[in-house]
Symmetry: C2
Subunit: 147 residues, 2 copies
């Protein structure tokens, strides 16, 4: 089942309609990689259909996220960003506080332990957000050089 069909299924099951703007925004979003702000997505969507409005991107990204096709990533420069989950295995982020570089990693051990924690507290898992913050080797070197 592809992403468009998943989205359509989600919409139907929630009494909502599949429309052209929603299709365009989903297509634009899936076609770009990385952490995208609303305006990034709007820009991509306008390439397909210049008539798309910003408000609809806000509304549609919320739906796409609720449908489980995207998740919110870090805030970057005050604006929320999103990344889609198609053809992109689950991962967490290691962020350099110096230059903003983002490294993706996956730790099966951590994933496993998170499941245990959900079970311990009787929670039904709905997702997680994990960001490690540090200084990358390059920025460490830069910092040493300047002292």
């Amino acid at each position: 089942m592809n992403e468009l069909m998943k989205f359509e299924t989600y919409l139907r099951s929630h009494g909502q309609k599949m429309t052209r703007p929603r299709r365009v925004i989903l297509e634009a979003f899936l076609g770009a990689e990385g952490h995208l702000s609303i305006d990034d997505i709007l820009r991509e969507a306008k390439k397909i259909d210049p008539g798309i409005g910003q408000a609809t991107v806000f509304r549609t990204i919320r739906l796409i996220t609720s449908a489980g096709l995207a998740r919110e990533a870090l805030q970057e420069d005050g604006a929320r960003t999103f990344e889609h989950l198609a053809d992109h295995p689950h991962h967490d982020h290691l962020l350099c506080v110096g230059c903003g570089k983002i490294i993706e990693f996956l730790s099966p051990l951590i994933e496993q332990e998170q499941q245990r924690i959900f079970v311990r507290y009787g929670f039904e898992p709905r997702g997680h957000m994990m960001e490690l913050l540090g200084l990358c080797p390059e920025c460490q070197a830069k910092e040493r050089g300047e002292h």
Copy 2:
């Protein structure tokens, strides 16, 4: 060494001054528990000195966080929140997406693995943020009852 002294040390070593508003805001912040928004802190600070301004709370919380006496927590209702680190061992959060309840937990296994990841990528650790999102037992029951 208490928090006030740590803050004063931090300020001096960064060429900044210890002032009455900064003392008041730190005291108000330390005196409250949980995740506090800027306006929460402002409210507490005004109880001690009604003359405190919101802008100074924004500025001072940034300093307190840089000094390592607080860390940013989840965004709640669009506003950033902070929690102080005094007499409060390090922990992560398990958040119920239904009712907003927050459970604190600590997993030495995860902490250990995070260190390994920093080392693997040559990063100098600066902190981390981990939030598990799920549905608590009560909200699960509520959801089952409504269907």
